[in-house]
Symmetry: C2
Amino acid sequence: MPTLVHTPRELRAACDAFRARGERVGLVPTMGALHEGHMSLVAAARNAGAQRVAVSIFVNPLQFAPTEDLAKYPRTLPEDLARCDAHRVDVVYVPSALDMYPPGFQTHVEVEQVTRVLEGATRPAHFRGVTTVVAKLFNAAGPCVAAFGQKDYQQWRTIERMVRDLDMPVNVLGCAIAREPDGLAMSSRNRYLNPDERARAVAIYAGISAANEAFGRGERAVGTLTTLASRPIAAAFDSIDYVAIADAADLTDRQVEAGEQAVMLVAARIGKTRLIDNARLGERLVIG
Amino acid sequence: MPTLVHTPRELRAACDAFRARGERVGLVPTMGALHEGHMSLVAAARNAGAQRVAVSIFVNPLQFAPTEDLAKYPRTLPEDLARCDAHRVDVVYVPSALDMYPPGFQTHVEVEQVTRVLEGATRPAHFRGVTTVVAKLFNAAGPCVAAFGQKDYQQWRTIERMVRDLDMPVNVLGCAIAREPDGLAMSSRNRYLNPDERARAVAIYAGISAANEAFGRGERAVGTLTTLASRPIAAAFDSIDYVAIADAADLTDRQVEAGEQAVMLVAARIGKTRLIDNARLGERLVIG
């Protein structure tokens, strides 16, 4: 079984011990409810040279708005630990909210421009909560390779920016989205879907694929591409938060023409569940 | 001569090399215009176990308001290097503004409550600039003992808070104020004073000393203590920004009664120069 640690100090001690033996540390920050997408991050950290991998599991209250699903977010620690064990994870870091935010806590890390659009436009404190907790994880873990899923594309770009701007000794990996056999992006929130919603949820993949195919045939008009993507999603979902095309690096608008460095991003609601997905235009969407 | 480094990467390489030999690293963040107060921080880092000391010299634009003295802030690099050499400093880190804030930079670290009062009340973005640059210095240096002067009392408390809140592997030292023979707190900004202003500037020390003596005789009324301190300062300075008594740990108001854990803080202007000073009530003010 992986070593279980609960405080920043314990995580640091574990990672320092690895480094003292010349082993590089990989870090996979998660909110638990682990699925094979998370496990692909463990593999990615190893591929990038980490001999030891720590997975953190913390449902971070700072990144949920009062109206969001903090209370009902799935918590599956025994299954998570078994999954980490099966993938030979070395350390699992499970801090309590009090370990992370003791009384008097008052510090935040904020990345400004890249967090203002898309997810940040409708979830104003979300990314500030993400960067604050990830900065704490990085500081506690020490120099490491940290793997994030590109499913949370804007989060990945935000963390990359934070690391660069704050001179953190972290190599940030952005890993390909893991998809179910029908194309649905793996997500802990997929557990919220009833069978009917689950069947309809594939429409996001269908919409993005349609836009990407049109892009491959030479279509460059943003309006046409987003309309192509929106059609199946609008039919299957209850509402669309956004279907957008943005610069793949800084997420600024790509108004005029979608070029090679463009990403299509989608957020939509089905029942009480909000799902997101994305793809680089011009790259093949890989399943399985 | 100390090794001169200019980029975060170079600083990290130098500090990593020390640690690889089992040597602990001390860090003394400064804005240059070094004086013996700074050198007492070098000594404090060594006393706390650092075998190697790095001094950073960076006039941080992020912590100056447009109306403040960024452009005229004293820059004395040759003298600073000579002083570091005389004190056997191992590394001097002199980044450019472009090294620290390359195009696209957009991340800030903010400590909230403790920065809202006193200096923060009149200098709204100041501490955000301080914590951002100090976070960058800590991340680049890696695990270290970092020495700060208590002359910038609120800054010291703010950085302590940041380190604790963000789980940074840094031991923050708050070092006693170094004073000139007449009691004036050493400060790079003392260079701005003409001989007449320099003579009058001692009034801050006189005011704080008067309050502290009254405290020693049992006086506990905040109004009486601040009035005692203000009288000589008002006579010698052109204006007083604040004469305050605050909780020594979190800097909240101590309205009713000044207890053992209270600090008196002063900011006042003489000519075009703004000076600050402070003392724990009940502790002897040490000169020389």
